[in-house]
Amino acid sequence: MLQQNGKPYPHCRLLYQTLQQLSAEDVTDMQQRVARAFRSAGITFTLYGDGETDERIIPIDCIPRLLTASVWQQLEAGLAQRLQALNLFLQDIYHEARIVADGVIPAEMVRGCPKYRIEMRGVEVPNNSWVALCGTDIVRTNDGFFVLEDNLRVPSGASYMIANRRVVKSNLRYLYRKCKVQEVEQYGAQLRRTLCELAPHGKSDPCIVLLTPGVHNAAFYEHIFLAQEIGAELVEGRDLLVSNACVYMRTISGLRQVDVIYRRIDDDFLDPLVFRPDTLLGVPGLLHAFKRGNVALANAPGTGVADDKSVYAYVPDMIRYYLSAEPLLANVKTYLCRRPDDLAYTLDNIAQLVVKRVDGAGGYGMLVGPQASDAERAAFITKLRANPADYIAQPTLQLSRSPCFVDGCVEPRHVDLRPFVLHGQQTRVIAGAFCRVALRAGSLVVNSSQGGGGKDLWVLGD
């Protein structure tokens, strides 16, 4: 919000003035109102541990993060380009694999990735939309915006994007109106449109369902919310069955055929006849129905290979290869520890690097070098030497900070953002994002499962 001279950026001037007019009491009241509203509405995520279930709200900070329309347009173009390249990559590696044959990406990186699904080789996907929904994590430093990660399997956070907006808007209504903020409410309609475009045989008004692991899933609230927003039935695996390569759901009036499944279940649990045989979450025969073209899955199985942290390092190469263009959004410099040179660099500089497992998620299993103890670094070095191909390393970024309400005062905290990109017959990017914030002073970990919070992102009107 503030420039180096301590004055607010022009587009933040109104926000700055508003914050100056708020007393500590006003701020505390506002935060408590928001927390109560979230708790009453059950906008929670669930943590499991020690046999107990804990429903927690994601703490929401009421100060929005602001981006100008021009900055957003650049991000939007970069996101759309990136998803287009990723879809082309997935189509390619499950068919001719030209990018491998041409030596752009090593074969072992793709075929050796545990998320590469042999079962998907040769499968045709409607509109080549392997990834119909993507949540891309973006950070900002003094050098600009960088993509931290592409979430291509079951990206979450869209419901919090909308929930945050509703509650912050009602608490800062004057400011909201003055800023002419671009809407996010149409996300549900856009998502439905995208899903309809995947319907088999171009069926108009397809039967769409959202497949959830169930009430015990951490993101169950989001599943309910999105199902309502897109007008889809919320189903679990036990509500569905496959007969003659068609998918049906059990209703009170008998069985009804399903055309499109927006699935929030990982590949491993999707179909016990193909993947994990011990799963009760999936639907036996689902992949067969999908391959026969009788049901669409968003996102298609096998997309996890493209959001592997090692493959991430090649996304700029994918853009150049498939689109003959330079990436509009940069990657964070990434060291692939499977490469001897990168491993050597990582071991020598571990105190300055962030080291992550290639299949990690939620901020777990990673080392933040500058914040780790000698013992923690030593333990990680042991793991690196034992299985270097399982790790990547990146420089510790000085993430941008955004003002947050902390104990009645305004203090800076590190933030990132996760915008959502939809890809059916066309690419759609909603002008907003789930903005995550590391609530502990000095922390760089924004993940909600580790105490992170959320903010609303306002993309200002022209």
Binding site: R39, S40, A41, G42, V215, F220, I224, A227, Q228, E233, L234, V235, E236, R238, D239, L241, S243, N244, C246, Y248, M249, R250, T251, I252, S253, G254, L255, Q257
Partner: protein, 320 residues
């Protein structure tokens, strides 16, 4: 509508009705502790545990519900705690509301936002409360407040829930639970009185309070409590919202609005509905026992018809 959602709403209705019934019973019971006789107090506990068909805590191996000796070794605090906050008791107030809320959570996309917020708020107040806090403050206030929360939920549902199939299943669940609880309670009372070979007006008067029927009783009959007239009102008068007859009529009316389920069960179900309401049996105990059997059958038919049907007859035929 998904069968699973219909099932959740059916049980949402049942659990919250069960909770409200128990909350009213306990409210009544803790009021007796203030100034009523020991006989009346024990009668009340006996009636509650008989209604729930549950053994009280610390009961001996040869405990007999209808025995004229002391009910149990447990004091009022232990009994009330068992029925209010005991998590291992599936029929406790806490467990019923928790189960109701869980069913609401499972079918959250089928209920209104206002209903969910109302129930969730009530749950958030209740979930971590300790019984010693309730007991030392005011148990009467706690039960009154709990009942109010549950009634507020029903009222919120009435004004916000779209009258589609989900509403019907929830109403059927509520009415069926109310009918079964009423039958169980009245049969328990009759059994206790028969075993003890006596009846006290105070015990029938307390039933009128429980069913919020005292004004109706006085309006129809007199200020003098007569057990036969109390039974007539609570069992047969459809104008009393909590009477058995009213509950049966709601069940029949709501089932009539639901779509045809599994054909084989549906026919039997509708036939049973036709027999449910308007039973002209004059002997109350017989009528109650007959209704109990029919309602147990009805519950199973509902499950077979809409929730847990075999899919073989529903699979589409495919050529080739």
């Amino acid at each position: 509508m998904l069968s699973r959602n219909a099932y959740s709403l059916y049980w949402l209705g049942r659990y919250l009705e069960r909770a409200e019934h128990l909350s009213r019973l306990l409210h009544l019971q803790v009021e007796t502790l203030v100034d009523r006789s020991r006989r009346e107090i024990h009668y009340g506990w006996r009636r509650i545990y008989g209604n729930l068909q549950r053994r009280p805590p610390l009961a001996s191996a040869d405990f007999e519900l209808y025995d004229s000796d002391d009910l149990t070794l447990a004091d009022a605090y232990t009994l009330a705690d068992d029925l209010t906050c005991e998590a291992s008791n599936p029929d406790s107030l806490h467990s019923c509301i928790a189960s109701g809320r869980e069913n609401a959570r499972q079918s959250r996309n089928c209920i209104s936002h206002e209903m969910w917020v109302c129930l969730n708020r009530a749950w958030l107040q209740l979930k971590d409360i300790r019984f010693e806090t309730i007991w030392s403050a005011s148990p009467e206030h706690f039960y009154e407040q709990t009942t109010q929360h549950l009634c507020t939920f029903i009222g919120t549902a009435r004004v916000t829930m779209y009258r589609a199939q989900g509403w019907g299943f929830m109403q059927v669940g509520r009415a069926l639970e109310r009918a079964q609880q009423t039958i169980s309670l009245l049969l328990t009372q009759l059994a206790i009185n028969h075993k003890q070979n006596n009846a006290f007006d105070a015990d029938w008067l307390s039933l009128l309070h429980l069913y919020q029927a005292l004004d109706a009783y006085r309006w129809n009959y007199s200020v003098q409590v007569d057990s036969a007239q109390v039974l007539q009102l609570l069992v047969n008068d459809p104008r009393l919202p909590r009477s058995l007859e009213h509950a049966l009529q709601v069940i029949v009316a709501e089932i009539a609005t639901l779509p045809v389920g599994t054909v084989s069960s549906d026919h039997e179900l509708r036939q049973l509905c036709a027999e449910l309401s308007g039973d002209t049996q004059r002997e109350h105990r017989t009528k109650l026992e007959r209704a109990r059997e029919k309602l147990n059958t009805l519950d199973q038919l509902i499950v077979n018809s809409w929730f847990d049907y075999g899919i073989e007859d529903h699979l589409p035929r495919h050529d080739g």
